[in-house]
């Protein structure tokens, strides 16, 4: 397959769930409605939207964690994908090295491959001797470094990033952003999710705007970001309901 082919397509996807309130009482919560778009190989697709608009649920569907309640998601049988978030289930009692090994293996690496990728993770994270110490001795910035390095240095078909651009101090942020931009500019397929239109505008070639579980606009990032900004500015000026009301 070459760049530009469709890696993953989402057709008329709906998603909702029943949430238990108390005892047997449940409320049904609709999240996504008629969502249709595709992710092409090698592109960086931005998804913007405010809190509660359904971004996280959409990411879980793209990641294959949950199945949509309606519509379908099609992709090649074996695609590796990961959702980059910070501190993916770290065990605080274990060292950075052990955690990095586990995290790589959780993404489907063999033990040998995982061990090979560790030195790169150590170097990138700049944790030095702390890499061999338990994660509970880390500061939050150090934990973020470990999480970011582990997630970024593993190779997958589809990388999903959930607003994690600021992960450490300024120097590391710069390095992290640079590494991420390298990934984005490479053959790597990326889905980048943020509530900030400006951030999406900075890194993505194509974007979609999600509001209340529906795609309001999709296409050229500048256009979509402009519309989204306009909507958010209006909301700030006139006041309005939250996405979930």
């Amino acid at each position: 397959m070459t760049t530009g082919d469709i890696l993953l397509s989402v057709e008329d996807v709906e998603y909702g769930y029943n949430s238990r309130v108390w005892g047997f009482k449940r409320v049904s919560i609709p999240v996504l409605k008629d969502v249709t778009f595709e992710v092409r190989r090698g592109e960086t697709l931005g998804i913007m939207g405010r809190n509660g608009c359904g971004k996280s649920s959409l990411l879980r569907i793209l990641n294959g964690v949950v199945a949509p309640t309606g519509g379908k998601v099609t992709h090649p049988k074996h695609i590796s994908r990961i959702l980059l978030t910070l501190g993916m289930g770290f065990d605080k009692e274990l060292s950075g090295r052990d955690n990095a090994l586990l995290a790589s293996m959780l993404q489907g690496y063999s033990k040998k491959q995982a061990k090979q990728s560790i030195e790169g993770i150590k170097e990138f994270s700049e944790l030095g001797q702390f890499f061999e110490r338990p994660v509970r001795t880390y500061s939050s910035g150090m934990r973020a470094r470990l999480g970011f390095s582990t997630a970024l240095l593993t190779e997958v078909d589809l990388l999903m990033i959930d607003e994690t651009l600021s992960v450490g101090d300024q120097q590391f942020n710069k390095k992290a952003e640079k590494a991420m931009m390298e990934k984005i500019n490479s053959e790597q397929t990326v889905v980048f999710v943020s509530h900030s239109g400006a951030q999406v505008n900075k890194v993505c070639s194509r974007a979609l705007w999600l509001e209340d579980g529906v795609i309001k606009a999709q296409g050229d990032t500048h256009e979509v970001a402009k519309e989204y900004k306009h909507f958010m500015n209006n909301l700030a000026k006139k006041g309005g309901k939250s996405a979930w009301q």
Partner: protein, 256 residues
């Protein structure tokens, strides 16, 4: 995920969990030995000193130690998917990973407790012989039983948390109903005895351990064979369930 990588992941994670658990405790790995020793002492106090059961302490431990392997695995597995929520939201690692990891974490500690048991057996005058090797098939079948029950328990709890309370009670019930404190050969009605051995694999297994180590006899090998087949069949079914229901399980855990 490839099966080989899955098993390697389970192995590494279980070993690391042991390391992590040990590092939280002042006496760390010493607890591996201390815990079974304390169990023996407690049983000795109650059954030998207080009740005067005499030799029967070995009989009790021969039931209690393999039973602890079962109960610990099932109890810790039953909540494993629910407590793996943060990992489930982020990765699509197969859901059976969580109970598997718990089962193996308990498994890797078993060699210490069984060494204790062998030691105790020798203290009571039963010397090791080649016949003891018949323990190995029992271990294998008990592992299959533990795996099956743990996978089923974890799946049920991920849908309805209330089940966890029932599982706790059922395990307690099995403790009284599997012949840890009494000899199932003393059940006079052969029909009742047969029923118990057929429907409670633990009762059969615990008695078989005693056959090999204490009585120097052979257990019913055919029964073991059938049991292994049924358990393997059950495991195939439960893996299919995880395969097809994995996403729905995740949805329940994430959104509950």
């Amino acid at each position: 995920m490839k099966i080989k990588n899955f098993l390697a992941l389970v192995d590494v994670k279980a070993k690391m969990s042991l390391k992590s658990d040990a590092s939280k405790l002042y006496l760390s790995y010493l607890w591996w030995i201390l815990e079974p020793v304390l169990w023996v002492l407690m049983f000795y106090l109650v059954f030998t000193v207080l009740l005067g059961f005499g030799r029967d302490i070995l009989f009790l431990m021969m039931g209690k130690i393999p039973f602890l392997w079962f109960s610990k695995s099932v109890n810790s597995s039953s909540n494993s998917i629910v407590s793996g929520k943060s990992l489930i939201t982020q990765t699509n690692v197969p859901r059976q990973f969580f109970p598997y990891e718990q089962v193996h974490t308990v498994l890797y500690r078993q060699w210490v407790t069984f060494l204790m048991l062998f030691g105790l057996t020798m203290v009571y005058g039963h010397m090791p012989s080649w016949h003891w090797l018949w323990i190995v098939p029992l271990w294998g079948v008990q592992y299959l039983l533990i795996l099956l029950v743990s996978l089923m328990a974890a799946a049920c709890v991920s849908y309805v948390r209330d089940v966890r309370i029932l599982i706790g009670m059922a395990v307690m019930g099995l403790m009284f109903g599997s012949g840890i404190f009494w000899d199932l050969n003393r059940i006079e009605d052969p029909v009742k005895r047969e029923l118990l051995v057929t429907w409670n694999p633990l009762a059969y297994l615990l008695d078989a351990y005693r056959d090999v180590l204490m009585r120097g006899e052979m257990y019913d090998l055919q029964h073991l064979g059938w049991l292994a087949l049924v358990l393997l069949g059950g495991l195939v079914l439960v893996h299919l369930f995880y395969r097809f229901m994995g996403q729905s399980m995740a949805s329940r855990v994430i959104n509950s």
